[in-house]
């Protein structure tokens, strides 16, 4: 036994290490490939459709020609509405969970609820929004109803990223601040929140980004099949990019492929820009962080 334990391995350790590293490199590359492929493919196919008229024009000829302005503006409004609903609520809830909530059965229940909220299929949110906001509260199919639905869907992401961002701030800062005569709230407001703001913003943007690309929650709550004008109030229905893509890909016969890819490219650009902003914020914060 003894001699066996110390016998030389079949492959020398340095070689094992090199092999291991290469294996991991290849696997990492495999995860990156599909993303790059999708983006490149969409750009190549969609770019020819992108021109001024396409971005600022209204759909014509049963959406087979013209532009997609109402869908772009609609998605913008919906994202904004989602932010208005989800950011104040989500950040407050995150602050409460991280800074105030005692560890007891009640807060554990809340935490479980938040986790489960994140796991609910988006179509269920859509039906919930239809039942509560559209019908029961009488908002009708509207930007308001859709924003509320998307907002509720986005809440868990914002709550948990806020909570995490706050918990990442060293506890010693809180003790020091309180020892200097600050209250808990002053400590949170002046020390903890500024330090965790980049993390919170990243979570907010990633959550909104998901909301911007969702179809199911807005399907029953606020989106119109074809509405060639811009919404003028939160109670108006609207067009939106994800649903528009669904419509022109499956519901309209004789649809020019170029317009389909062009629309997808616009949505992708919208979402990726948000992602890029989140990345930039994170990097700048990391460079400036003192702990």
């Amino acid at each position: 036994m003894e001699s066996r334990r110390f016998s030389r391995p079949l492959i020398p350790p340095p070689v094992q290490q090199t092999l291991g590293f290469w294996l991991m490199r290849i696997i990492s590359l495999v995860t990156v490939l599909p993303i790059v492929a999708v983006i490149l493919y969409i750009i190549v196919r969609g770019l020819p459709a992108i021109h001024w008229e396409f971005l600022v024009g209204y759909p014509r000829e049963g959406m087979r020609a013209g532009g997609i302005l109402p869908a772009i503006v609609g998605t913008f409004y919906l994202t904004l509405g989602t932010a208005v609903v989800a950011v104040p609520l989500g950040v407050s809830a995150g602050v409460y969970m991280a800074e105030y909530a005692p560890d007891n059965r009640w807060t554990r229940l809340i935490r479980i609820a938040i986790i489960n909220l994140a796991g609910i299929p988006s179509v269920v949110y859509g039906l919930f929004g239809l039942g509560l906001f559209v019908l029961f509260l009488g908002f009708g199919t509207s930007i308001l109803a859709s924003s509320l639905t998307l907002g509720i869907m986005t809440l868990p992401v914002i709550i948990s990223t806020t909570e995490e961002a706050l918990r990442a701030v060293p506890y010693s800062f809180r003790v020091v601040s309180i020892s200097l005569g600050a209250t808990r709230w002053e400590t949170i407001w002046r020390i903890v929140l500024p330090q965790s703001l980049p993390g919170i913003l990243t979570g907010v943007i990633l959550g909104l980004e998901r909301a911007a690309g969702e179809t199911a929650p807005i399907l029953f709550t606020g989106v119109a099949f074809f509405l060639p004008r811009l919404p003028t109030s939160p109670l108006d229905a609207t067009m939106a990019l994800p649903y528009h893509i669904f419509v022109i890909s499956t519901q309209v016969p004789g649809m020019p492929v170029q317009i389909q890819y062009g629309t997808v490219l616009v949505l992708l650009a919208f979402v990726l820009t948000m992602n890029l902003i989140a990345t930039l914020i994170r990097q700048r914060a990391r460079a400036r962080r003192q702990w």
Binding site: F173, V175, V176, S179, L180, A182, P194, Q195, Q290, W291
Partner: protein, 256 residues
């Protein structure tokens, strides 16, 4: 022996138990004299840090299960749940063993407690920040980079910054929990000299990080062992002429 001195803080039968059942302080009674360096020393786990955290109610943050006795400061019982803890913490400041600069600039670290206290006037803040930094003998080293991040200075400087931050409120008592344990000997000497100087105007409560420092610094010393106050005496009495065998064993290095 000196004549009876002013008592700054009177501790009567203080008992502290944490929620895990651990008894951190057992029936401690102690008068802390004013305007001198008062040393609380003893091996780890003796309850010294707990005592400091009781004195400015920082243990409100930790899971203390039961506390009894009285701690009288300026005629008030500190343990009274109805006292103004913010006011108390402004009068009894604390410096921790590791320098923890807040994630702000050097200037803001010192002005922070004043701003929290409601001071908005720039001239007042400037003045107070300079005074506190001078008192902590840090001004000459940082006056030209007050708006740099506080982490840009060395550990020893950071600890003096933390002291300046406490001084800016002009407290009555300054407590220091092993303030030099993370510092090199030169920085340690600076802090010690500084404390001696400050003790003319402030009541210093120092938990030293070893017996040598305790002996060097003490105008008054109290020896803690496993949550009990074994003995207390003015001057270097405890180090020269301890009455209790356990104190003697500890100061002569037989344990600890």
């Amino acid at each position: 022996m000196q004549p009876a001195q002013d008592v700054k803080i009177r501790i009567e039968h203080l008992q502290v138990r944490y929620s895990d059942g651990y008894e951190s302080l057992r029936d401690v009674s102690l008068d802390i004299p004013a305007n001198q360096v008062n040393v609380l020393f003893g091996p780890a786990g003796g309850g010294k840090s707990t005592l400091l955290r009781v004195l400015n109610r920082l243990n409100d943050l930790s899971d203390v299960a039961a506390m009894s006795g009285r701690v009288i400061f300026n005629g008030q019982n500190i343990l009274d749940p109805n006292i103004d803890v913010v006011e108390l913490r402004r009068k009894i400041g604390i410096v921790f063993s590791r320098p923890v600069p807040l994630p702000l600039t050097i200037y803001q670290n010192v002005s922070y407690p004043l701003e929290i206290a409601g001071e908005r006037r720039k001239s007042r803040l400037d003045e107070a920040v300079e005074r506190a930094l001078r008192q902590a003998v840090l001004w000459d080293e940082v006056y030209d980079r007050l708006h740099d991040p506080a982490t840009a200075i060395s550990g020893g400087q950071q600890q003096r910054l933390c002291l300046a931050r406490t001084l800016v409120l002009e407290p009555e008592v300054i407590m220091l929990d092993e303030p030099t344990s993370a510092l090199d000997p030169v920085s340690t000497a600076k802090i010690e000299a500084l404390l001696q100087e400050l003790s003319e105007r402030y009541t210093i409560v120092l938990v030293p990080h070893n017996v040598q420092q305790a002996a060097r610094m003490a105008d008054f010393a109290a020896f803690f062992l496993q949550g009990e106050l074994i003995e207390a005496a003015p001057g270097k009495e405890l180090f020269v002429n301890p009455k209790d065998k356990r104190t003697q064993d500890y100061v002569t290095g037989r344990f600890g």
